[in-house]
Structures are given as C-alpha cells and as structure tokens.
C-alpha cells in the first residue's frame, strides 16, 4: 500500500516571518525590570550614602560599629536559615506524599496548604499568639487543664526564637511545597523505574534519583523562604519583641521612628542585598554542571508509591502540618471572630461590623482582588519571560535579568515602600494615590518569588522541545506561547496563584502607598490591629481565606488552562 500526498495546487509557503520580536521584547523587559527594581534600589543606595545632599559613609560606619545593629543582623540570619531549613524539612516530605503517593485526600491537602499560604504572616502570628502565648494561649490553657499544672506554667511559648521561626515557617513552607510538588509532577517515571530495576528500594530511589531531580525546585523554594523570613516585618514585630530580641527588620522599623533615619535604614538593608547575591551564587554553585532536564514524551504516568501500612503515619504527618498551619490558627481566628474580647457567648457582631458598618470593606475587597488579578497576570507574564530569557540566554547579558528580578527580595517591604513612594510621587509622575503605584509595588515585591518559581520550572523543560518548534518556523516568542508555556502549565498556574496570594497578603510596603480610595484588605486588617479589633481582623482574615481559596481552585480548574484529558506533563 502506498498513500501519496496530494499534489498541492500551491506548494506551502514559507512560514510568515515577521521581525523577530525577541530583541525588542528583551529590551522592553530589561527596561521594565530596571524601572521596577533599579529605581527604588537606586534610591536606597543614594539615601544610604548621603546626608543633607552631602556624600557620607557615616551610615555604613554606624552599621559596622553599632552593636545594637549588628546583633539583630546575626539573629535575623540565624532565624532565616532556621526558617529555610524547617520549611524544607516539612515541605519536601509533604510534597512527595501529595504528589507521588496514594495518600488519601491528597488533593485536599494540596488545596489546604495553598490556604495556609493565603494567610498574611502577621495574621498567622496573631493567631499563634492566641494559641500559644505562655499564659493565655489556648494550647497552654488546655494543657494546664489536662495536667493540672500551675498557672503561669507553659507547654509552649510562641514568644521565643524557636516560636518565631516556627510561626514564620508556617507561612513560608508553601513556597517550597508548591515548587517541589510541581517538580515531582514532572519527574519522568522512567528514571525511577531505571533505579528500582537495579534493585533500589523505594526509599533509595527517592533519595538518589527523585529528590536530586527536584533539587532546583527545592533550592529555589528555600531561597525564597529564607529571604522572605529575612525581610519579614509583621511576625517578628509581634513575636520577637516579647521574646526579648530584635531582628534586623524590627530594628530598621524603629529607625523610621522620630527622628527618622532613612539613610541608616537604607544602609541597613543593603547587606541584605549582599546576602541575596551570595545565596543565589550558592544555588548555582550547588546545581553546577549537572543536568535536570529529561526529554518528555517517552514515559508513562508518574509513578505512585503505595503507602500501604505507612498510610496512618503519613496521614498523621499531613494532618499535623495542616493543623499547625491552617486548622488551629483558623480555629483560633474563628473563635475570635465569634466571641467578644474576654466575654462569654457567641456573637455575630464582628461580621455585622465588617460587612455593614465598616465603610471601607467593600472598596478594599474590590481593590484587593482587582490588584490581585492584574498583578498575578502581569507578574506571571513577566516572570515567565524573564525566566525564559535567563534559562535560554538568547540575548547576551540575559542572565542579568535574573539578578534584577531576584533583587527586590532583599529589600524589607517598608524600605521598598519608601523608595517607591519617592519614585512615583513626583509632580511629573504622580501615581501616588492611584492603584497604579500599588500595582507597581506588587509587581516589584512579587517578582522574586514568581521568577524563582518559573526559573525552577524551566530547569525541567528540555530545550529541544523548543528547538523542534523553531525549526518549523515559529519565532521564539511564539514558541514560548505555544509550546513552553503550556508545558509549564502547572507551574504557570502555581506562579499565578503565588503572585495572587502574595499580593493579597502583602502589607509592609503597601501601607505607605495606600490612600482612602486605594485601601486594601491587608491595610484595613493592620489598622484594625492597631485599635485592637481582633474580632474584625479575624472576620476579614477568614473572608480573605475563603475568597482566595475559591480563586485558587478556580484557577486550577479553568478548562482554558488545561483540559481534563491532558496527560501528565513532564
């Protein structure tokens, strides 16, 4: 049998090649990142070396000589590393359980972890105060009732270094979790099969093959977790001070009190930038020359490990993590939402207040989600493009974009807020008071997490899949849109959710940039916190959780973003 191609009346034309948009895209992206990142950074640098318009190194001298500044640095670095290690230690096994085993209810676990992510860390810290403050903490009260221990005896004390690390890790481990779980989804089963046929037991295969292959994701996640912890203000502000120590951000914060020393604050944030660069360098040093990409298409479904007898233990572990990060804190918040301070009896007063009396709620909700959507969409696009440029290096110097995109992570939100305010409140460029400045701020703040996530995902896509498209005539950008982005589908969605959630829970920089018309939910929560309205805070927190949760689930289900029959991608 021989089937002949029909004689085409007209032979197929060359693919229409217009101008290559890659270079323009590169320059546009570079310009955008420069605007987003370099402007506030330059402001920082400028302020750190000037005093009343004069050049000075006094700020750095103070930084080096003043022990009350040096010590918080040490503590902060220790805390951040602790958070990174704890996040990794909790997230990796959990990600594996969820992505690669038959753990019952693993989809729910995955969704709930996203929920723990929605929680603004300072809200989580407040919830943990309710739970684990040495005297009033519910857990301690419960423990005392159970054991009959003396008043003022405590089982756990959240006001301690360990407590702080724990409370922060609760809300940073989802970074590692999401990245690793997505990475695990993509490890081809062939590679694991090859190991087990040689006699490696499940555990060995996991240790020697599977986990090393998601190393880039693990490192990227830990990197974000560490840097987030390093620059986080909310949780340390609530927990560190009662514990009797400073971290660098609380110290920087006090530098803004009267008389403000923005120069010193700026100088104090620059070492954080240095730490970032070091961590990034360390990451690429660890990854080295090794490969992490396997060409897709040749192997079947990802292998699912049967837990069998281990199921109860695994369930217990998952339940423990979920309890600590989601269930208990939200139970505490729910309790606060339904009761009045110290008064017995349930009440819907707080709900009534938030939804009907508090004028700001509706506007703030609208602003928050509008900004969430636009930042997530734009931010994901920028992160995707940046990660593409960096990993495929089509234009010389593209790797600088990666540095740029990661740099904002090192700037504490409050400092960044000041920088952005100065940049965008010139009479010529008056964005202050509009949602635009918030959009810019969010894009800047969320860029590192989004970029790291996309970059880790790119490590898993073999360039030949792109080349196959280009040789057929698709330009790089078209290939990115038609081949790479769909291949990265889960990561793209995850990044979108990352940015969305990050935007919704961001506080420290935004608080400087919001005005009455551009209020956001997180800012309202903060304001309510100042006036001590725990009930209203809890109501808002729970509402935030529910809505974001719905959005995240929707994003993962949208048929547009991947039909039901799409095979497991790798």
């Amino acid at each position: 049998m021989s089937v002949a191609l029909p004689d085409a009346p007209v032979s197929i034309a060359r693919p229409p090649i217009r101008i290559d948009l890659l270079r323009p895209a590169f320059y546009a992206l570079a310009a955008l990142l420069v605007v987003l990142v370099v402007l506030p950074l330059a402001w920082l640098a400028y302020y750190s070396v000037t005093k009343d318009g004069q050049f000075t190194l006094a700020n750095f001298a103070t930084l080096v000589t003043d022990n009350t500044l040096r010590k918080p640095f040490g503590i902060a670095v220790g805390m951040a590393l602790g958070v990174g290690a704890l996040s990794c230690a909790v997230a990796t096994p959990l990600a594996w359980l969820v992505a690669r085993t038959d753990l019952p209810g693993r989809r729910i676990v995955r969704a709930l972890i996203t929920a723990s992510f929605v929680t603004p860390p300072f809200l989580g810290a407040i919830a943990w105060e309710i739970l684990a403050a040495p005297n009033s903490g519910l857990l301690n009260v419960f423990w005392r009732q159970l054991t009959g221990a003396q008043p003022y005896d405590a089982l756990v004390n959240i006001y301690s270094f360990g407590g702080l690390v724990f409370a922060i890790a609760c809300y940073t481990f989802p970074y590692v979790f999401t990245l690793v779980a997505n990475g695990l989804d993509r490890v081809p089963s062939d590679l694991e099969d090859a190991s087990s046929i040689l006699g490696a037991r499940g555990w060995t295969t996991l240790r020697k093959v599977t986990l090393p292959l998601v190393l880039p994701a693990m490192l990227a996640g830990s990197l974000i977790a560490i840097l987030q912890a390093l620059t986080m203000f909310g949780s340390p502000a609530i927990l560190a001070l009662p514990a009797g120590f400073h971290v660098i951000t609380t110290k920087i914060w006090s530098l803004f009190q009267f008389p403000p020393k923005p120069g010193l604050a700026a100088a104090a944030s620059l070492p954080l930038l240095l730490i970032t660069v070091l961590l990034l360098q360390g990451k690429s040093w660890i990854l080295g020359r090794k490969g992490y990409t396997v060409l897709g298409g040749k192997s079947g479904e990802p292998r699912v490990t049967r837990l069998r007898g281990w199921t109860p233990l695994a369930l217990a572990f998952a339940f423990l993590v979920l309890s600590l990060t989601v269930l208990l804190p939200y139970a505490a918040l729910a309790k606060a939402a339904l009761t009045r301070n110290g008064v017995d009896g349930l009440t819907l007063h707080h709900f009534h207040f938030v939804f009907f009396e508090f004028s700001a709620t509706r506007l703030a909700m609208w602003n928050t989600f509008l900004l969430g959507f636009s930042t997530a969409t734009l931010g994901t696009g920028i992160a995707l493009l940046t990660a593409y440029m960096v990993s495929r290096n089509p234009v010389r110097g593209a790797h600088w974009l990666g540095m740029l995109a990661t740099a904002p992570v090192a700037i504490p939100g409050i400092v960044l807020g000041v920088g952005l305010f100065l940049t965008y409140s010139h009479p010529q460029l008056m964005l202050y008071g509009t949602l635009w400045i918030l959009l810019i701020a969010f894009l800047t703040i969320e860029m590192p997490a989004g970029y790291q996530q996309m970059a880790a995902a790119f490590q898993g896509i073999h360039p030949e899949l792109e080349e196959a498209s280009r040789i057929l005539g698709a330009s790089r950008l078209k290939t990115l849109r038609l081949i790479t982005a769909p291949l990265l589908r889960t990561s793209v969605i995850a990044t979108w959710c990352f940015v969305f959630i990050g935007t919704i829970r961001e506080l420290s920089a935004t608080i400087l940039l919001t005005t009455a018309n551009t209020k956001l939910v997180s800012v309202i929560i903060y304001d309510l916190n100042e006036s001590g309205d725990m009930g209203a805070i809890s109501v808002l927190g729970i509402m935030l959780l529910l809505v974001s949760f719905a959005v995240v689930i929707l994003a993962n289900r949208l048929p547009l973003l991947g039909g039901p029959r799409l095979p497991a991608l790798r």
Binding site: T68, E129, I130, A133, P134, N135, S136, G137, Y152, Y159, A237, I238, L241, P242, G244, F245, H246, W253, S254, F256, Q257, F258, P259, P260, R340, N341, G342, V343, S359, V418, F421, L422, S425, H426, P427, M430, Y432, G433, I511, L512, T515, A516, D527, L528, E530, S531, G532, M534
Partner: protein
C-alpha cells in the same frame, strides 16, 4: 504672633462648600475618625471629608515625604506625637489659625503661642490590671508597687522605640522624681515587651499578663466598656499625659474647608464624640466624661516637654535596662 480667633461664619462655610472636600491626615482610631468625619459632613453638607488614617509615625513620615517632593495632599493633620508639630512648625509648613473655642477654652500650655497648632486630644499612659486575675486589694496602686518581686514575669509593657505615647511617657517618668532608677529596677522584673501602646491592654484582656506597666488609657476604657475585666490605676507618683495636636497645613489644597474642619474639630460636639466613642481626653471644659471614668481633674498628671525630648538617649538607656 497668633492670629485672631475665627468662627464658622457663613462666608467660610460657603467658601468651604465651594471647595467641596477636605483631606484629613489623622492618627485617631479609625472608627472614631470616621464618625467625626460623618458628623462634619452631616453638619456641613457638600463637603466631603477624606480620612487618611495611619499611625502617628506613618503620618509624620508621609508628610515629610510629600512635602519633600512638593506634594500637598493634606489639608489638616493630627497626630498623637507632640514632637512632630515642633518639627512641622520649624519647617514652616503650618498655617496659623485659632478657632474660637480654642481661644476661649484651651489652657495656654495646650496650644501653640503662635497659633500654629493646638491640642486636639490627649490620652494617658496608665497602669492597669485584669480584675479577674488580680483581686482589687492585691492590685498595684503605684509605680513603686510594680517593683514588688511578686509582679516579676507578670507584667506587659510597650516600647518607646515604637510608640510615641510610650516615648513621651518614658520621658515624663524619667524626669519625675522616680527617675531612670525606676526603669532600671523595672527592667529586672522580666517584663513582657510589646511594640505599640495599644497592645498591653489587649494582652491584659486576653489574660496573657495580669498587669500592664504602661499603655493607652483609651484602650483600657474601650475594653472595659465592652465588658472586659480590666481596670486602670492612676498612680500617686503621677500619670504621663500624651497630647495629640492638630493643625492646618500651609499649602492646603482646600484652605477654607480645612479652616472650617479645623474649627469643627475643637467644638464641644466633636470633642464629646472623641471622648464617648474614642475614650480620649479633651481640654474642652464642657465635655462630659462617661460615667465610670475618672475625670482628668482628679488625676495627678505628669507633663513632658516635647522640646526637651531626646529620643536617642531614651532609646539607648531603655535598651540598656530592658534588653531590646
């Protein structure tokens, strides 16, 4: 020299209505501020009050930034930190104006001699205790009582590095006969340290600590009135008074509306609202304290001089005694 006092004349109202809006940077509790704004809008229809509510330090920082970059958003400003107004005045950013009520009722020490600002509100930094955890008879009665070893590990306190109220209070106490020695000894009592002056009352309400060494009086009022078992203590050594000033900004975009609103802020009606809803103290003699609150006149007050405030020394000494 202070300008002549002014009233809410029909001309002023008309001019203000023409501007249609006033922007108020306020550090008052958001619920109180919003209520005040609504009351003004009800009284003078056609003028919208835009409440820009933030912490005192934020507002200070924001005005500095805005004026630094020649943005004149704010019309009226009000914070709880008296020092800020010395700074504003020095910068020449304030518009002198003396509402009739201020001229008539305000004591001299609570208004600027040049009429650039006046004490819009005040609150105290008090000792308090949880009545459920501490019987009345065992409760501390004075600052000296707090040094009793039995309160070791049972007290909560806010931080002068973060709270203007506590900064002022610390200054007042350290300049009083108690002096720095008091703080030195208090530092050995294993005090739980929190940031804002609003927090210690909350810790008391939650039962985390039975006694607070300092913190906002108005939070204590509000909690108490919502049913929380909490009681303020007015120490015989004196209670620090924290004054919150208000002022019109020179470059206000809505000068007439600003003037009208500024006038309204000091009326009996506004001041009464501050007291009822916000638990704040007022210098208006016609304001009636809610039942159960000890009137200002019966409290020994410790005043502090903002001009002599030296935050650096205070923070340094504080860190020395309390570790943070």
């Amino acid at each position: 020299q202070a300008p002549a006092p002014y009233d809410a004349t029909p001309q002023l109202v008309a001019a203000a209505q023409k501007e249609g809006k006033v922007v108020w940077y306020s550090a008052t509790d958001v619920q109180v501020a919003e209520k005040l704004a609504r009351a003004f809008e009800a009284k003078y229809p056609g003028i919208k009050v835009q409440v820009e509510r933030s912490g005192a330090e934020r507002i200070f920082q924001r005005i500095n930034q805005e004026y630094g970059s020649k943005i004149y958003n704010a019309d009226v400003v009000e914070t709880s930190d008296a020092v800020h107004f010395l700074h504003f005045k020095k910068q020449g950013w304030l518009q002198p104006a003396v509402p009739a009520d201020v001229a008539k009722f305000w004591p001299k020490e609570y208004r600027d001699a040049d009429g650039q600002y006046a004490a819009y509100r005040a609150h105290l930094s008090v000792i308090a205790y949880n009545t459920k955890l501490v019987p009345k008879e065992q409760a501390p009665k004075s600052h000296a009582d707090l040094l009793d070893p039995k309160w070791s590990g049972k007290m909560v306190k806010a931080h002068p590095g973060y709270s203007g109220t506590i900064m002022t209070g610390t200054q007042a106490l350290s300049q009083s006969p108690l002096g720095w020695g008091y703080f030195e000894q208090l530092g050995k009592q294993k005090v739980m340290q929190v940031q804002s002056s609003t927090e210690p009352p909350k810790k008391l309400a939650a039962g985390e600590r039975p006694v607070m060494a300092d913190g906002n009086e108005y939070n204590v009022f509000l909690l108490k009135e919502s049913g929380v078992p909490i009681e303020p203590v007015y120490a015989p050594e004196g209670t620090p008074l924290v004054v919150g000033n208000g002022a019109i900004l020179k470059n206000a975009a809505n000068p007439n509306a600003a003037k009208l609103f500024y006038h309204f802020m000091f009326t009996r009606e506004a001041q009464q609202l501050n007291s009822d809803v916000g638990g704040l103290r007022s210098f208006h003699p016609e304001v009636k304290e809610k039942a159960g609150r000890v009137p200002l006149s019966q409290i020994k007050l410790l005043n502090s001089d903002p001009a002599r405030l030296d935050p650096e020394t205070i923070k340094k000494k504080y860190e020395e005694y309390f570790g943070t």
